[in-house]
Symmetry: C2
DNA sequence: ACAAAAGTGTTCGATATACACCCATGT
DNA sequence: ACATGGGTGTATATCGAACACTTTTGT
């Protein structure tokens, strides 16, 4: 039997088929805290509880596309920093039926976000991660996202995804401090990121102290 | 409508349902190289090509259980170090139908493995990752596993999963060197792992040089 | 005695930590 | 003038890279 013949005879309904969703934790830094976009559920199951924005994976889209679709529908934003987190497959995680959830996280600067509307709202991520009253296993997904972010801050440039295109170093340092959960020394911080940034000739103004210079992220040097 | 009423009326067949598999890359160090267990496919699709051992996820089992099941059926081993890698969801990755693959990797010491039988065989992982002639996207999964291992070697204890319960430091160092792809200095290596090991009073013998002491892994200190 | 590999102490340089000080602005 | 936070130089501690040397076995 040739491969094409095999494929013609193949009956995919012979195999068990769970549903697959993509649930996305959208993080931003607001009010000196890492916050995550949650949805107050209007429908069963878990009506009234908070959950992450999620979509069923369409039969013709990739998982990344499904995540982008979910984010676009909630924020109107495209080209957000997005990364797959983990896949959750406990048979009891959804009371309706067997649902396997591929979780993603995304990072956006606060400035690029419109105020959330309708059932969407931002919540301190640490509180969601610690709460026992969140829909599905989404509390654990948020916890997983926080951990991943904290791990990657020090050896990648993900923190830059949380500031605008042009930013000051005090701003950027505050982001690092919030993600790491600790104060950093100004001088040391600047030495460490010096190679990752490019100065502009813009300065802030209006504050009752010395203006701060604005910078851009230096494009990654390949190799 | 109450939640239980909602659940009674819910028709899960209204939603798209891809198939979900778990594909597991079982790594070991053999012949001074990182090797991975591959299966020569007896059936379509990709008949005759190499693929990773995989199973369809049963409707009542977790993903971890599916991975353990796949490993047990190929190796007869239980309680192997196993970790989820990444989930692959391109619509074209399987020519039969839409299949989403949750990939895992596992690490075992060579000594605990029986010689592979039937269509199973060990292949140098780097070759599989570089090959363009592997079934599905399994070449990329292996590449992803190699990268993950290399990243985790330095800040976790995964290398210990590749040696027996009792091991010598030259043995362990060779594992590290193979995973990292570079020679290490004996003295520095020993200083670094000194806190992770406990000496036994066993020694190797028979070799035409000084015997080496055997060690065990020190149990993780919580906190 | 010698080869071979196990095992240990010490130096050197890079990096991170900590602190001290200067600078520019609004009030 | 001064309070406030932006911005920079310098000393110290810590860690890893590199090397030199000693030890124990089989032949």
């Amino acid at each position: 039997m040739t491969e094409s013949e095999f494929l013609r005879r193949y009956r995919s309904s012979d195999y068990p088929k769970p549903s697959v969703t993509v649930d996305t934790a959208l993080f931003t830094v607001r009010d000196n805290a890492l916050q995550v976009l949650m949805i107050r559920r209007q429908e069963h199951p878990f009506q009234g509880k908070l959950s992450l924005p999620g979509v069923f994976v369409g039969m013709a889209e990739t998982l990344d596309e499904a995540a982008a679709r979910a984010l676009y529908s909630k924020t109107g934003l495209r080209d957000i920093y997005t990364e797959q987190l983990y896949t959750w497959g406990s048979p009891e995680r959804d009371p309706r039926m067997r649902v396997i959830s591929v979780s993603y996280y995304a990072l956006v600067p606060e400035q690029s976000l419109a105020p959330p509307e309708g059932p969407a709202l931002f919540c301190p991520a640490a509180e969601i991660a610690a709460s026992g009253d969140i829909a599905f296993d989404h509390s654990r997904i948020v916890a997983c996202g926080i951990e991943r972010i904290r791990n990657k801050v020090n050896y990648t440039d993900i923190a830059f995804s949380l500031v605008d295109e042009e930013f000051t170093l005090p701003e950027l340092q505050r982001i690092y401090e919030i993600l790491l959960g600790q104060k950093l020394y100004k001088a040391n911080f600047r030495k460490k990121i010096a190679e990752k940034i490019i100065p502009t000739d813009h300065y802030t103004s209006g504050a009752p102290h010395r203006p701060s210079r604005m910078y851009r992220k230096r494009p990654e040097t390949a190799g």
